[in-house]
C-alpha cells in the first residue's frame, strides 16, 4: 500500500483525461463502414458494435479501461527525447518532436503509470501510436527500464501495451539498442519472479516485436491486431506474391504459437484482474 499512498499523494485522477466526446458526431467503422454515434463508440471502448473492429486508441483510453476509477499515478512524466545525432531528413528531428508533442500533448511514444485493477497493483507502460508512429527511441527504452525498477522496488506486476511501427530511425543505433536494453532489464524482473504481461495491439511491429513485446510471461493480443517483425509490405516485396488472408494478424500469430490468448477489449480488465489474482494466490 505504501507505494500507492506515496506516489498518488495529491494526484487523484489522471491529469490527461481526454475531453468528453461531443454529441452529434458519428464514427464510421473502417472495417464494416457502418456508423455509430461517437459517444456510444467511446462508451463501447472504441470497439465497433457492429463488427467488433478495435479502433486504435491511446494511453489515456487504455488507462481508463484498465484502472479502478481511472486513478493512476504517472512515473517519470518529465522524460523527453534528446537529439544526440542532430538528425535531419526532410525535417529536423527536433521539429518532428516538437510538432508531435504539440499535436498529441504527449512527451513521447510511451507513458508509464501505476494504479490498481480491481484492487490489484499493476504498473502499465502504454505506447502511443500517434507520437511518431509509436516508434521506440531512447525515451521508450528508459521509461520501460525505470518502470521495471519501480516494479522491482515495490514487487508489482508489469504490463506493457505495445503499439508501434518499430524503431525510431532518427535515433539510429540508440534506438536499436533500446531493444537490448529493455530485454536485458526484463531479465531482472524475471529473476525476481514478478509477472510481466505483454499486450500486443494494432500494430506491433519491428524492433518492438523483436524485443519486449514478445517476451511476456503471457503474450496477449487484441483481436485482429497486426503483429509482425517485418511489415506485410516488406514481406510481400520479398516473396513477390500476395499474402494469405489474415497473415500476421493476432489470430494467425496465436495459431502459430506466439500468443497465449486474444482478449476482446471489453474483457480486458476482468481477465487482467483474474490473471493478477492467479499469479498472486
Amino acid at each position: 500500500m505504501s507505494w500507492y499512498k506515496r506516489i498518488t499523494k495529491g494526484i487523484k485522477t489522471s491529469t490527461k483525461e481526454k475531453k468528453g466526446t461531443p454529441e452529434g458526431l458519428w464514427y464510421k467503422c473502417p472495417s464494416c463502414k457502418k456508423i455509430t454515434p461517437s459517444n456510444e463508440h467511446a462508451d463501447g471502448m472504441y470497439v465497433c458494435p457492429h463488427c467488433d473492429y478495435h479502433e486504435r486508441i491511446g494511453s489515456a483510453e487504455y488507462f481508463k479501461i484498465i484502472f479502478d476509477n481511472n486513478e493512476y499515478a504517472e512515473l517519470n512524466p518529465n522524460l523527453s527525447a534528446g537529439d544526440p545525432l542532430n538528425f535531419e531528413d526532410t525535417k529536423k528531428y527536433t521539429d518532428r518532436l516538437a510538432d508531435s508533442q504539440k499535436k498529441t500533448e504527449l512527451k513521447d511514444a510511451i507513458r508509464t503509470v501505476a494504479g490498481k485493477v480491481d484492487g490489484n497493483d499493476l504498473v502499465v507502460a502504454c505506447m502511443d501510436f500517434n507520437f511518431i508512429g509509436g516508434s521506440m527511441g531512447s525515451v521508450v527504452g528508459e521509461k520501460i527500464s525505470r518502470a521495471i525498477d519501480f516494479c522491482l522496488k515495490y514487487n508489482i506486476p508489469l504490463m506493457i501495451i505495445s503499439k508501434s511501427g518499430g524503431a525510431r530511425m532518427m535515433e539510429a543505433a540508440y534506438s536499436l539498442m533500446q531493444m537490448a536494453k529493455t530485454s536485458a532489464k526484463l531479465t531482472l524482473l524475471a529473476e525476481a519472479r514478478i509477472p510481466y504481461i505483454s499486450l500486443l495491439t494494432d500494430p506491433t511491429t519491428g524492433g518492438v516485436t523483436a524485443s519486449f513485446a514478445m517476451l511476456g510471461d503471457l503474450n496477449i493480443g487484441e483481436p485482429e491486431s497486426l503483429i509482425a517483425f517485418a511489415g506485410p509490405r516488406v514481406v510481400k516485396e520479398t516473396i513477390g506474391k500476395d499474402l494469405p488472408k489474415g497473415f500476421q494478424r493476432a489470430e494467425f500469430v496465436l495459431e502459430h504459437g506466439f500468443l497465449d490468448k486474444i482478449i476482446h477489449r471489453k474483457d480486458l480488465k476482468i481477465k487482467l484482474s483474474q490473471l493478477l489474482v492467479m499469479f498472486k494466490n
Binding site: 526532410t90 531512447s138 543505433a173 539498442m177 536485458a184 519486449f212 514481406v235 499474402l243
Partner: protein
C-alpha cells in the same frame, strides 16, 4: 580482383605494376627497383583512400565482395580446429547462421555468426547472410551449450538483416530475436561480439548482446541500412549517402556514442587486402578479451553487461 569506385586509384597502380611485370618478363630487364617503388606507392594510396572514406563508402567497403566472411575467420583463428554444429533442434539447419566449437590456442570457444556466400550459388545457399528464426534459435542453442560447459562465446556479425520472408514471420522472427536478446543478457559465460561486415538492425543485434561488442574499422552498425532509411524517410533511394552520414553508423561514430566497446583496426586498404593479417589481429583481440573476462565472476560479468546496455540512450529530463 574487384575494385570499388573509390578504389580506382589503387586499381590503376596495381594494373600499371602488372603491365610492367609482363613487359619485364618479355624483355628480361631488371625492374625490381621500380616495382618496389610502385609497391610503396600502392600502400600509400591504399592508406590515403581508406583514411578518407565517407560513411557511405565505409558501408560499401563493409560489403566488399572479397571481404572475408565468418567461416573464413573461424577456420583461420582455430587453425582448422573447428567442429561445425548444425540445427536448431526444432525446424531445420539455417545455412545463414553457422556455429560450433573451435579451439584457439587450446581454449575451446563457441563460435557463432551469420554467413554470406562467395558466388551466386553459395550466396543463395546462405540466403545472403539473412537468417530465419531457426538461425537465431540455432545460435541460442549453441550459446546454451557453451554455457553448460563453461566455454566463452564469440559471435561474428555480418548481415544485411533478418530475413523478412513469409515463413520467417510464421515461425516468429520477432520472438526468436527477442528471446536471444533476453537470454544473451544473462548468459553465464563471457560473450564477445565482433561486427566484421554489415551490422543491420535486429538481425545483427540478435547475436549482438555481449560483454564486449567490437567493430572492425570498415564496418557499419545501425537500426537500418542507409538505402532503406533513404527510402522510408526521404521516400526515395537517392539519399543513401545522406542517410549514411545521418545515421552515424561507422565504428568511430558508434564508439563516440558509447554503443560499442572497441574498434579493431584493419590492414591498410581494408580486411580484403590482407585477410591473413586481419585474422591474426582478430585472434589476438579475442584472446585478450577472453583472458580479461575470465577474471570476472559470472554474476559480476552479467551485472556489468546488463548495466552497460541499460545505460544506452539519450533522454532529457526536466
Amino acid at each position: 580482383m574487384t575494385y570499388l569506385d573509390f578504389e580506382k586509384p589503387i586499381a590503376e597502380l596495381i594494373e600499371q605494376q602488372e603491365k610492367m611485370k609482363q613487359a619485364a618478363a618479355k624483355s628480361g630487364v631488371d625492374i625490381s627497383k621500380t616495382l618496389q617503388e610502385l609497391d610503396e606507392k600502392i600502400v600509400e594510396q591504399r592508406t590515403k583512400v581508406y583514411k578518407n572514406l565517407t560513411p557511405w563508402q565505409r558501408v560499401q567497403a563493409s560489403r566488399h565482395p572479397e571481404r572475408p566472411y565468418t567461416l573464413a575467420y573461424i577456420e583461420a583463428i582455430t587453425e582448422g580446429n573447428f567442429m561445425e554444429l548444425h540445427g536448431d533442434r526444432t525446424v531445420k539447419d539455417d545455412k545463414a547462421m553457422v556455429g560450433g566449437f573451435g579451439s584457439v590456442n587450446g581454449q575451446t570457444v563457441m563460435f557463432i555468426g551469420q554467413q554470406k556466400g562467395t558466388n551466386t550459388k553459395t550466396r543463395q545457399y546462405r540466403n545472403f547472410g539473412m537468417p530465419n528464426p531457426e538461425g537465431y534459435r540455432k545460435a541460442l542453442r549453441l550459446m546454451k551449450l557453451a554455457e553448460k560447459f563453461n566455454k566463452p562465446v564469440v559471435t561474428f556479425i555480418d548481415t544485411p538483416g533478418a530475413y523478412p520472408g513469409l515463413e520467417a514471420e510464421e515461425r516468429g522472427q520477432g520472438e526468436a530475436i527477442a528471446r536471444n536478446l533476453f537470454e544473451m543478457a544473462k548468459l553465464r559465460v563471457p560473450i564477445i561480439c565482433i561486427i566484421i561486415g554489415e551490422g543491420a538492425s535486429g538481425g545483427a543485434l540478435g547475436i549482438g548482446v555481449g560483454d564486449r561488442v567490437l567493430m572492425l574499422e570498415n564496418t557499419w552498425y545501425s537500426v537500418i541500412s542507409p538505402e532503406s532509411c533513404s527510402s522510408i524517410l526521404w521516400r526515395s533511394w537517392d539519399f543513401k549517402e545522406k542517410a549514411a552520414i545521418g545515421l552515424k553508423l561507422t565504428a568511430d561514430d558508434m564508439m563516440g556514442q558509447k554503443l560499442i566497446d572497441g574498434i579493431i583496426r584493419e590492414p591498410i586498404g581494408g580486411a580484403h587486402t590482407s585477410p591473413a593479417e586481419m585474422f591474426s589481429i582478430v585472434k589476438t583481440e579475442i584472446l585478450s578479451h577472453i583472458a580479461e573476462l575470465k577474471q570476472m565472476k559470472p554474476d559480476e560479468r552479467i551485472k556489468q553487461r546488463i548495466d552497460k546496455f541499460c545505460s544506452m540512450g539519450v533522454v532529457v529530463e526536466d
